[in-house]
Symmetry: C2
Subunit: 350 residues, 2 copies
């Protein structure tokens, strides 16, 4: 199945799941259309990376590409991701997501239109609830995919581990952000748990576990997935500073305004003069950072060699993954698809 076809089937599975929930919600109260609208808006975007990796983990382990229910189980990862995005945006007070208002801003606007008091508090609260609902629904969608019990039992162990890992990674990320400093090693540990395992390695393992894959497949998927996952996040770090808002769906320099303690920032600070480090300390995380402030930080990140070091790391990890893939004990079509997915995940215009 070509990538575009997998993507289409994942979209269809997601839409069908939400449509099955819709009448139940509206029976509880017509006002719940507000929750559904916010979810629909979020799910209209997104690259469906995690379900795609799950599908190709399944195929890599010899699973039948036409297995009923597999893409429902895979698509459930997109609801888990929706939950993570909605809650992340609350934690970071982000205004935009995928080029649209973030969920809490959308709910805030709903309250403001209604003339209700405490619109901001309502926005945050409703977004927390919607994220909870997406988290609950991701589990429900996985469990009700229709896959056989033995498959689900194997997959559940990966799913459980993955959820715990991503939440622990998020907690560590919050700590690093609050402390306002992170070494390259500390920033990489957050990337490992919050991004690389969650976005790529575990979705691959999930698919392989559902298919009943052996340890050698699993190990190869780790050997490929971890470096791709780290490179994916490093690319995201670079785009968060230098990316085109039309492509990232976020305002220019948003990561700088949020003060994210990324690997890119850690690499920059390792190379910065005391004066450059002081400027970073002053500007990074300033919510009112303007274009000239963003430019000043971009200049330091470039001139210190932080950017070049980050790009070199991306290239190194991408090369590592490609080398593993060549020798991996997996079907040729899965190999080709994973190669293509790696390129898409790490691309400069991602």
């Amino acid at each position: 199945m070509p990538l575009s076809r997998v993507r289409k089937e994942i979209d269809d599975a997601l839409a069908a799941f939400v449509d099955r929930q819709r009448p139940g919600l509206l029976a509880i109260g017509a006002e719940l259309t507000g929750l559904l609208d916010a979810l629909d808006a979020l799910l209209a975007g997104g690259k469906r990376l995690r379900p795609a990796f799950c599908y190709w983990g399944w195929r890599a382990a010899g699973g039948d590409g036409a297995q009923p229910g597999l893409l429902d189980a895979a698509a459930s990862l997109e609801l888990l991701q929706a939950s993570a995005l909605i809650h992340d945006d609350v934690m970071d007070s982000s205004d935009t997501r995928r080029g649209q208002p973030s969920a809490h801003r959308r709910f805030e606007a709903l309250a403001a239109r209604g003339g209700w008091s405490g619109a901001a508090a309502f926005g945050e609260g409703a977004a927390i609830v919607l994220g909870d609902l997406c988290l609950a629904w991701s589990g429900e969608m996985f469990e009700t995919s229709g896959l056989a019990d033995d498959r689900l039992a194997r997959g559940r162990r990966v799913y459980d581990l993955m959820r715990t890992e991503v939440m622990c990674g998020q907690y560590l990320d919050l700590m690093v952000g609050a402390r306002g400093r992170a070494s390259v090693a500390e920033a990489l540990r957050v990337v490992e748990f919050k991004s690389a395992k969650y976005t790529i390695e575990r979705p691959l393992h999930l698919g392989a576990a559902l298919a009943g894959g052996e340890d050698d497949v699993r190990d190869a998927l780790t050997g490929y997935g971890m470096p791709v996952g780290i490179a994916f996040q490093l690319r995201d770090d670079v785009l968060g500073v230098f990316g085109d808002p039309a492509e990232t769906g976020k305002p220019a320099g948003d990561d700088l305004r949020e003060g994210k303690r990324t690997v890119l920032v850690a690499l920059t600070l390792e190379r910065a003069t005391p004066a450059q480090a002081a400027t970073v300390g002053r500007l990074l995380g300033d919510p009112a950072l303007d274009v000239s402030g963003v430019d000043a930080l971009r200049t330091i990140i470039t001139e210190t060699g932080g950017l070049a070091a980050c790009e070199a790391l991306i290239d190194r990890y991408a090369g590592e993954a490609a080398a593993v893939l060549v020798d991996a004990p997996i079907a040729a079509d899965a190999q080709a698809a994973l190669s293509e997915l790696a390129v898409a995940a790490i691309a400069r215009n991602a």
Copy 2:
């Protein structure tokens, strides 16, 4: 099994589950002890009502009281409840829970002790993450309870419905709070989904479904559970205004400061003079409400007859439940336990 023994086994199952997770978290990072400490503190309190109702729903439907895994599946509801409490406290900006600092305040203090910037933001973010983790773990604990697949498949349908209902109820509650007004009927709808179904009816249904109970048992559990659940919440509303902080674990009048649009408040406003209604409008939801403000609201709630109307509703619902229980097609010991649990749930010193 006496109620105290059920309670003890639920506590043990919860502690064993968290202990199984502990090494995995600490392997990711020693700092994750902060998450575990906050969870331990929360789980040290609580009446374990939902697991108890699940157990007695199982027994009511003829389930074996010594079934291995049943109390693990039941205890998972306490993790779901932990998630709901942690997130509710973030949404309501509540400082205390079960007589201890709420999770977000605990995390905020951790950040302040470390001298980190943005302690309040860290506190909220970390509490959102911990609530997410508890939600994920509740599903994991249920699914890995060891009960047979056919039992879990039946139970899962109730579990899924229950989670969706309580989250929708929470959304409606936030709307009612932001609008700053709710009729008795609107407040009762929130109570129905956020409290009565979630705390009592669905846990009973869950136990009965796991046991393979028939429709007549299920219907009787609804007939008993819904009125007990509504009465439970109305009692909680009364305690939120008039309760002894030593028993509620919350400061006196905390619900008034948070501006909760409870059935008790709606019953009061139905009966209030324009002057009384204006005073309620001015004081209810004032975060700085002092003792004299709390007293003024208590006086209005009492003098309008709002309190008496609420107590009358509690008595009516309690009587309704008791009448259903007498004729319910369930085992005598389950009948006795449910009668005792209803009294405990509705007691004035709950």
